[in-house]
């Protein structure tokens, strides 16, 4: 059923979400999971800049992947200058 005209935002413009969007969890689309080799990682953060879904978190203990939203696109693997990231088939994991 169509939404009433008054209920759609003008020109489809909406405030940007400020936190994780529970209505659009995309981690289930992933077929391969990114795995980081912490020994190789130089903490250059190029993967963090490049991730189109902001699914890489920076912390004092190094970077981690937000698997709730990571689609497994592999851009991080492509841009990593030292080859510290690999993609492992999801079926290889128990969870």
């Amino acid at each position: 059923m169509s939404v009433p005209v008054k209920e759609v935002p003008f020109a489809g413009t909406v405030p940007s979400p400020q936190k994780e969007n529970e209505g659009m969890i995309t981690g289930s689309w992933r077929t391969r999971r990114p795995i980081l080799d912490c020994d190789k990682c130089t903490d250059c953060q190029i993967c963090w800049i490049s991730c189109p879904d902001s699914s890489i978190n920076l912390s004092d203990d190094g970077l981690t992947f937000n698997l709730k939203y990571c689609k497994g696109c592999g851009i991080c693997l492509e841009v990593c200058p030292v080859g510290a990231i690999s993609l492992v088939p999801e079926l290889d994991f128990e969870d």
């Binding site: 005209v5 759609v8 020109a11 489809g12 413009t13 909406v14 940007s16």
Partner: protein, 395 residues
């Protein structure tokens, strides 16, 4: 006070853009519209115009740049011709859907083939249903005036739509005409500063062009439909205001030339109408009851006004300066639109379609004369063996 100069349609448009105090311009070269950009580039380089002048990497990029610029609150200008216009096709609907009132000048050029530099309105007519305001200038003066008027119409809070300000390549864009360039104070009175309805700002992040669920589709489209329809009133107001401030009065929808007591008329748009006027004048001197009706605003199409204007005559010839292969009626988009407008009157007015001036060829006096002769015959007998004629091969 303004100044009078003999300038081309391209230079006239550039002067209007300068007077509109545009903030962002994005160019990519293609003849013939590129004359507008070379003039604007000169103005920016010489310090006459304070605007960001960006070179796009193609027309798709050009439209994307002005899309972003307009969303961030800038008055933005771009343009193109021929295959450049069609290359950017993807971006037109998002811009009107996002309700960004930027302006694009189109100086018509044929699509390929024949790939020549000649003028044909096919390029701009391909974009006719994208939710933009659209119309054709017939002279350099009108090209300047159209740019100013369209910014005002598009930026009106009741409308908020982008605009295609079209002019025939070469016949208008590169032919010199006397142009009254108004002074900045007059333009300031006519065209208030652009106020964006939701400025892109890092301190207040927004999603524009968000992906939506299907249930949001119908109301989104309905919003845009209402905007296009409400433009009708704003277009009329803008023309009245324009006449008051600048002293040049244009009919907002259709310009009638020597139509008093006319029996047959030609209905067309764009610069070739100026040639047609000289033929009408000559035939009038010979006692023929002929006239011309020139369409000034193509989108939104003035159905009611065209019905009233054309319903008076015994036969109407519609000239399409575009190719529309396989179209209903066999001629072009203007014929189908004119017939749709006249449909409410039943079969009262016979309409003939003429395809003329393709590939940048002139529509000659002789061709206009033959069209009027054919229309006279149809008005007299009420019969025709054909409804559509490709000139010069079939008439």
């Amino acid at each position: 006070m303004g100044v009078k100069k003999r300038i081309s349609g391209c230079v006239a448009t550039a002067n209007a853009v300068k007077l509109a105090d545009v903030d962002v311009i994005c160019s990519y070269p293609i003849r013939p519209y590129t004359g507008i950009m070379s003039e604007l580039a000169r103005m920016v380089a010489d310090g006459e115009l304070d605007a960001e002048f960006i070179h796009g990497e193609g027309e798709h990029g050009q439209l994307s740049v002005v899309y972003g610029a307009s969303a961030s609150g800038a008055r933005a200008f771009t343009g193109s011709s021929g295959v450049g216009v069609t290359y950017a096709m993807e971006v037109y609907s998002p811009i009107s859907g996002e309700r960004l009132p930027l302006q694009m000048a189109i100086a018509d050029r044929t699509l390929d083939p024949p790939g020549d530099f000649g003028s044909e309105q096919t390029d701009a007519l391909c974009c006719r249903d994208q939710g933009w305001i659209q119309g054709w200038a017939a002279s350099p003066q009108e090209a300047l005036d159209l740019t100013l008027m369209y910014y005002r119409i598009g930026e009106d809070p009741r409308v908020l739509l982008p605009q295609y300000a079209c002019q025939d390549g070469y016949f208008v864009s590169h032919i010199l005409g006397e142009v009254d360039i108004p002074d900045a104070a007059q333009v300031k009175e006519f065209l208030p500063p652009y106020k964006n309805h939701h400025v892109l700002d890092p301190r207040n992040p927004q999603i524009i062009g968000a992906q939506m669920e299907p249930a949001m589709g119908p109301p989104m489209q309905y919003q845009r439909y209402q905007a296009v329809e409400s433009a009708r009133k704003v277009i009329e107001e803008a023309h009245d205001e324009f006449a008051r401030i600048f002293g040049r009065k244009y009919a907002p929808w259709v310009e009638e030339y020597m139509t008093d007591d006319a029996e047959v008329v030609i209905f067309m748009q764009g610069g070739h109408a100026e040639t047609c006027k000289t033929v009408v004048k000559r035939l009038r001197n010979l006692g023929e009851k002929v006239g011309l009706v020139r369409l000034r605003t193509f989108r939104p199409f003035p159905t009611q006004q065209v019905r009233e204007a054309l319903g008076k005559f015994k036969a109407v010839g519609v000239i399409d300066n575009s190719v529309n292969f396989g179209i209903s009626g066999g001629s072009g988009v203007l014929l189908t639109e004119a017939r749709t407008a006249l449909y409410g009157l039943g079969e009262k007015v016979p309409t003939l379609g003429f395809v003329a001036g393709l590939g940048g060829e002139m529509i000659t006096h002789e061709e206009f004369y033959r069209m009027f002769l054919k229309l006279k015959e149809v008005a007299k007998t009420g019969k025709t063996d054909k409804e559509t004629f490709w000139l010069p091969f079939e008439l």
